[in-house]
């Protein structure tokens, strides 16, 4: 039954490949979202069945034998447990909304069938990733989403920089993938030496006790390298801002709601490994917290609407890894879910704004869109409130849970908490800066663009509204302990992720920290109000006083330039060497050399073919002489 969740997008892929352009725009824009919608319905159905199975239940679909060789017996198996149920619902649900939105957004694009082909292919890969029961199948999905990311970022490849952005994403991901491969191969091999040959998550979990802490830490860190690539953490986050070159719904789906969350999901799945390696957890938490603050600082000064959101995504992913790193796996997944709602909404809203502004993406040229695009404005504002952590919106509950765990968990630390808090202030600030500059005040666009500003069609606004509703209410499944029904979310995930680390928490501590969070959010919003609503001349003055700092942030700390000067140049040099020396001289030389040799030989030997019969007869005669001589001399 689970396989039907995958089959529908697969059918979509075939449809768009072979029939898409033949049957026209209408058909494609119906089939594309429809297959995802069907997947979603199947998902809902199986999740209901899962509920009926009780807390430890899981649905398994062993599809077909895949690699049966020697001591390895891997089937392609899908598993729906609590964790994958949450992920699948998010992927299909939000995915469906974004597909519907895309039908409107890409309505005038030439390559509509190719777009939905890639989008459906992405859905297929992501679903394989979240439903896989073995790490090998998981990796198939992992690679698949990487591929689709490349295809979709570089969708308008006729512009060189779009193609370059796609390549950058793929290559940086590949570096992470190398770490990931090493990680799970290490696990496979180590367990194999103990006699356990398995590649299933269940198998790893069952025999994790056979791993020494050293091996566990090494494997955990290697897998985390893969996560930094896929989920854009320090040091492999650099592809995400560039990925904004792709169509905006792609940014919403892949680089906010789903693909980038794969790394977080991976850690949740392998949490038993990380539980054995506290050192690795510390690394994860540190990098998560650092990334959260680092990316937030860059987002403060960016002027491109989508770039702000991109850095915001990197930052929020940092929060998720912070949660994982302090052992609060359920909280990390909780934030993953709420983030999918409000970040997806933010990107779709941005798309709506860009669409209404005839392609303009610079917020310095926007303003005053509140009246002309009311639905977009309202939903965008809700999302801003959610991401800033304003209660009772969804983001408040998830972010607050993370901050609390960062402080109070046994793996937590006050410094981590402080970094998270700082990030929260910055997040609130830059998001409301965005809101104010885009929607409030006088319009700063030129006359032509301003005249064309219009609200988007229902195919785009309805998904906005749905996501807005989720951004409001989505957090209510994970209330702090003691409030109404408490943290149902964590309870649901407990069979898979373990009991939430309550540590020694006193209610007072929790409420105290919660109050601090709210104050932090409020502070950020207040400063944004001051800078961009009340006294618009302030930002320029502050930027002038801290010019060097401002420049540094604007140029995103020149990290790309650093990478270019070190790694990239060196790699190009190596590639050049291999090209000129090995490929051209040695390999081509050998192949061409063989050909040249043969040609030269043939030029020589063909001179024997004089075409003159008497020459041939002479050869016969000489042969006869030799033969007779042989007999004569014997």
């Amino acid at each position: 039954m689970l396989r039907w969740i995958l089959i529908f997008p697969l059918l979509g892929v075939f449809f768009h490949t072979f029939l898409g352009y033949r049957l026209g725009r209408r058909a494609v824009s119906i089939v594309g979202p429809a297959v995802v919608g069907l997947s979603f319905l199947v998902t809902v159905g199986v999740v209901i069945r899962l509920f009926q199975l009780g807390p430890d239940g899981a649905l398994v679909d062993r599809m077909f034998p895949w690699i049966v060789a020697g001591r390895v017996d891997v089937w392609a198996t899908l598993r729906l447990d609590a964790l994958s149920a949450v992920m699948t619902l998010i992927v299909t649900g939000v995915g469906f909304l974004i597909h519907v939105y895309s039908a409107g957004y890409m309505a005038r694009d030439e390559d509509y069938a190719r777009y939905f082909l890639y989008l459906n292919l992405f859905m297929l890969s992501m679903l394989i990733l979240v439903l896989a029961d073995s790490i090998l199948l998981f990796f198939v999905g992992w690679e698949g989403v990487g591929l689709c990311s490349y295809l979709l970022i570089g969708f308008w490849y006729s512009e060189d920089q779009n193609a370059a952005a796609g390549k950058k994403a793929f290559i940086v991901n590949r570096i992470g993938d190398a770490g990931f491969l090493l990680g799970f191969m290490l696990l496979f091999w180590t367990l194999g030496r103990e006699g356990v040959w398995t590649l299933d998550f269940a198998g790893f979990r069952e025999h994790a006790n056979l791993l020494t802490p050293g091996v566990a830490t090494a494997a955990a860190l290697l897998l985390f390298v893969g996560a930094t690539g896929k989920s854009a953490q320090i040091p492999l986050y650099v592809w995400l801002p560039d990925a904004m070159a792709g169509p905006t719904p792609v940014s919403a789906l892949i680089h906010a709601a789903t693909m980038v969350t794969a790394g977080v999901y991976m850690i949740a799945r392998m949490h038993f490994l990380y539980d054995l390696a506290p050192a690795a957890l510390a690394v994860v938490a540190s990098i998560g917290a650092a990334t959260a603050v680092f990316a937030a600082t860059i987002g403060l000064v960016q002027n491109d609407l989508k770039k702000v959101l991109a850095y915001s995504t990197v930052s929020q992913l940092g929060y998720m890894f912070l949660a994982m790193g302090v052992g609060a796996y359920a909280s990390g997944i909780f934030h993953l879910m709420t983030h999918a709602f409000f970040k997806g909404l933010l990107f779709l809203g941005a798309g709506s704004v860009i669409h209404g502004m005839s392609g303009e993406q610079d917020i310095r040229k926007m303003g005053g869109l509140r009246e002309k695009m009311p639905t977009t404005f309202l939903t965008f504002a809700i999302a801003c409130a959610a991401i800033a952590g304003v209660p009772p919106f969804s983001g408040f509950f998830s972010k607050d849970a993370i901050l609390f765990q960062a402080f109070a968990s046994e793996h937590g630390h006050p410094v981590l908490w402080a970094m998270g808090l700082a990030g929260a202030v910055l997040t609130a600030f830059y998001m409301f800066r965005l809101l104010f500059l885009t929607f409030f005040g006088q319009t700063r666009a030129d006359h032509h663009t301003a005249g064309h500003v219009h609200e988007s069609p229902p195919s785009m606004t309805v998904p906005l509204m749905v996501l807005a509703a989720l951004s409001v209410a989505g957090g209510w499944v994970g209330l702090p302990a003691g409030w109404l029904w408490g943290d149902r979310f964590a309870e649901f995930l407990a069979p898979v992720l373990g009991e939430p680390h309550h540590g020694h928490h006193e209610l007072a501590l929790e409420y105290g920290l919660m109050a601090v969070s709210i104050v932090a959010a409020g502070t950020g919003i207040a400063i944004a109000y001051l800078f961009y609503f009340h006294s618009p001349e302030l930002p320029a003055r502050v930027a002038a006083s801290f010019r060097r700092g401002y420049q540094l942030l604007l140029e995103k700390y020149r990290v790309d330039e650093l990478y270019d000067a070190t790694v990239v140049r060196w790699t190009f040099g190596l590639a050049n060497f291999f090209w000129k020396l090995v490929d051209v001289a040695v390999i081509d030389g050998t192949v061409n050399g063989v050909a040249m040799f043969i040609r030269q030989q043939s030029r020589t030997w063909r001179l024997l073919q004089t075409g003159n019969v008497q020459n041939y007869a002479l050869t016969f005669m000489l042969g006869a002489i030799v033969v007779v001589a042989f007999f004569l001399l014997r």
Partner: protein
């Protein structure tokens, strides 16, 4: 020196001389006629060796039919004397090669011990009857095949020599 031996030497000498004429005379008609003489010498040789039927066949088929065909073609093509003489180098090479081969062969046969002669066979050795007996019993299949071969040759030569 028996009469047979003397006869043999005469016939051999004539065969060699006329063969040389075949390869050396510039006028192709004379070459053909020399070849006819050579063929007659060979027929005489066959008679000396007791192969009566074969000798007659040699005269009828070779000298009588094949050489006639050659002469027809020579006349048809109106072939003149050789226009350009063979270059000296080629002549030397040909002469040396052939000379070497001839010397080798002659030397081989004259110096090596040959298998012993068998006892004299049936009375009609070499006669029509003997040949027919061999052809139609032991070698019947090959005999039939030659008829096919001749058919192919007839059809082939007609097709090839046709005016397009």
């Amino acid at each position: 020196m028996t009469g047979e031996t003397i006869l043999f030497l005469v016939v051999a000498a004539l065969a060699v001389v006329s063969s040389l004429a075949v390869i050396l005379h510039p006028n192709p008609v004379y070459c053909a006629l020399s070849l006819v003489i050579a063929l007659f010498q060979v027929a005489a040789l066959f008679l000396l060796l007791g192969a009566h039927m074969i000798a007659f066949l040699q005269v009828i088929v070779y000298a009588g039919a094949i050489m006639v065909l050659f002469l027809f073609v020579i006349m048809l093509l109106n072939v003149q004397r050789d226009v350009e003489p063979t270059p000296a180098g080629s002549r030397a090479v040909a002469g040396i090669a052939a000379g070497v081969l001839g010397a080798e062969l002659a030397g081989f046969f004259l110096t090596r011990p040959l298998p012993a002669a068998a006892a004299p066979g049936p009375e009609d050795f070499g006669s029509v009857l003997a040949l027919a007996r061999a052809l139609f019993t032991e070698h019947a299949f090959s005999f039939e095949l030659t008829s096919v071969l001749l058919l192919v040759a007839i059809v082939g030569s007609v097709v090839i020599a046709r005016r397009a």
